[in-house]
């Protein structure tokens, strides 16, 4: 899963698989005999489409914004303090920008330490800022944002077709069986699976069709669920507000939302690490959200920074960024034990346990085998503050220190 909480994704998958399975087992043979063999083909195609788009919605990075590096956060704080007044009131944490003659307020995110771009919202369940935040969908176990909205939309539209198709087929099947005065009960007895399908489809087709219709309206007007619910552009406040992002043409809006260029994932940058496609799962799948996410991001940024810094250092250092590699290992992410804080954070914890002030001393006095690790960590901008909730800041840091050492050893 990409999101911290997988929600009811297993339930969603289960329902789809069970309903489709029952359809192929109970209804298809009868319908193929009495109607046409196109039915399982269409059903199969829709089923595959639904499952693929569902998995893509769940496993694609919705457009998570990595947290600001400490340097950036400091710079922004300075700017805020400069523009704030000198009274005791806290400085303003909003910035205004004019987009298409509309005044848009950008809020400061205290968790991510940056001003959120327009249309970005912080999801409390995933604990990340997500670009073009639509909503957090528990059915797919992920946020729906800029990068996976098109998958989500395709999923619900294909699911409505699939559900309606199965519902239609089951109804046809049962009515064909009940012909000749045999009755519905007889038909249901002959094909019990159809009863289950009927119930599931009947109850879900209305909600899914409704959802598809709603999202079609959102796509056509280039709105997000979040904006629609809050009424940001509906002029509720009485002012003359219109959606500044809409292109005023339904077709153009649809195209730009669904067929626009696919933006890259901002949390997958691995610098010179070998292209590792499993990084998709490493994105926000976190047990300790703040810390792990920060270490994640810092490893990302360390990747290329390390590249620049390693330009002068022995070539062996270039392999040291596999310290970050364990982070991309999906199994690590599922391991809830403290050792999950992989080598990078491990070594960083060692740093931290001796206090921030001693960091510069570290780089000079530590033995050579740790120097490589230390050099990467030495840049104070990547010194990750240990979150108070983290259990490792105490006595276990020594153990992790050894772990950090052993990793440098391996290089």
């Amino acid at each position: 899963m990409v999101a911290r909480q997988s929600g009811v994704l297993p339930l969603t998958l289960g329902l789809i698989l069970i309903t489709s399975g029952l359809f192929f087992i109970f209804d298809c043979p009868f319908l193929v005999k009495h109607l046409t063999s196109c039915i399982p083909v269409i059903g199969g195609f829709l089923f595959v489409f639904v499952v693929i788009t569902l998995l893509q919605t769940s496993f694609t990075d919705p457009g998570i914004l990595p947290r600001a590096t400490p340097d950036e956060a400091e710079d922004i704080e300075k700017q805020i303090d400069n523009t704030g007044n000198t009274s005791y009131r806290p400085p303003p944490r909003t910035k205004e920008v004019v987009i298409n003659q509309q005044v848009v307020k950008l809020k400061y995110c205290f968790t991510c330490k940056m001003f959120r771009p327009p249309r970005t919202s912080h999801c409390s369940l995933c604990d990340n800022c997500v670009e073009r935040f639509d909503h957090h969908c528990p059915w797919v176990g992920n946020c729906v944002g800029k990068r996976n909205y098109r998958f989500f939309y395709t999923f619900i539209v294909s699911l409505s077709f699939h559900t309606a198709f199965i519902f239609g087929c089951v109804t046809t099947h049962l009515s064909l069986r009940a012909q000749g005065g045999k009755g519905l009960v007889f038909a249901l007895q002959e094909s019990p699976g159809s009863a289950v399908e009927l119930v599931i489809c009947f109850f879900s087709v209305w909600s899914i069709l409704g959802l598809s219709g709603f999202h079609t309206y959102l796509v056509a007007s280039n709105l997000t669920t979040n904006e629609d619910i809050k009424g940001s552009w509906s002029g509720k406040s009485g002012e003359d507000v219109t959606n500044p992002y809409s292109q005023r043409n339904i077709f153009v809006n649809c195209c730009s939302v669904l067929c626009g260029p696919m933006p890259p994932s901002l949390i997958d940058r691995r610098g010179f690490l070998p292209a590792d496609e499993s990084v998709q799962t490493a994105g926000a799948d976190i047990e300790l959200p703040d810390l792990a996410n920060k270490s994640e991001i810092n490893v990302c940024t360390q990747g290329t920074k390390g590249l620049l810094e390693s330009a002068t250092l022995p070539p062996l250092l270039s392999t040291s960024c596999p310290q970050g590699k364990p982070l991309t290992d999906p199994t690590v992410n599922f391991d809830p034990s403290p050792e999950i804080s992989t080598s990078c954070s491990g070594a960083r914890h060692v740093h931290h346990s001796r206090g921030r002030a001693s960091t510069p001393r570290h780089t000079k006095t530590r033995s050579k085998k740790n120097k490589r690790a230390a050099l990467q960590m030495a840049n104070p901008s990547f010194d990750v503050p240990v979150s108070p909730s983290s259990p490792d800041a105490g006595p276990s840091s020594k153990a992790r220190g050894h772990k950090g050492d052993s990793f440098s050893h391996l290089q």
Partner: protein, 143 residues
């Protein structure tokens, strides 16, 4: 008299004096554009016009990546019809432009910024939030 420093030399000698962050410019909506206002900290280091040219080129490249044109529509429709599995084998247009941007920044760093003790960080490394300009201490003057 003009000494050209390579990136490697700089790493060995220079320490970071300051960092300047160029934030995003949202006046055109959510498209990726950066503020091209010339920061005061760089006044002593680099020519204003040079800097603005770099920024303008970068902004143009990002606009190209996000452009809604026939190519992106065809890519989008094809992807939808194949249930987006085509992205597994094909690189998206955006990614291609990002590679171009990375190369351009590398080139600019090598030719223009490194000799002046500056370093541009590719914004993708910062989540497309900022362009980070690292200012190195100018040791050459004190040697």
């Amino acid at each position: 008299m003009v000494e050209t420093h390579s990136l490697q030399d700089m790493r060995q000698q220079a320490a970071v004096a300051a960092k300047v962050f160029l934030q995003r410019d949202y006046s055109n909506g959510t498209v990726c554009q950066f503020q091209s206002k010339f920061p005061s900290e760089l006044e002593t280091r680099i020519d204003k016009q040079q800097f603005e040219e770099t920024m303008q080129t970068l902004n143009n490249l990002y606009a190209e990546a996000e452009k809604l044109g026939s190519q992106s529509y065809i890519e989008g429709c094809l992807a939808c019809l194949t249930a987006y599995t085509v992205f597994l084998c094909m690189e998206t247009h955006y990614e291609k432009v990002l590679k171009k941007i990375a190369k351009y920044i590398q080139e600019q760093n090598d030719k223009i910024y490194a000799p002046r003790g500056l370093l541009l960080t590719d914004p993708i490394e910062r989540g497309l939030r900022v362009i980070e300009v690292t200012i190195f201490e100018d040791r050459s003057l004190t040697r």
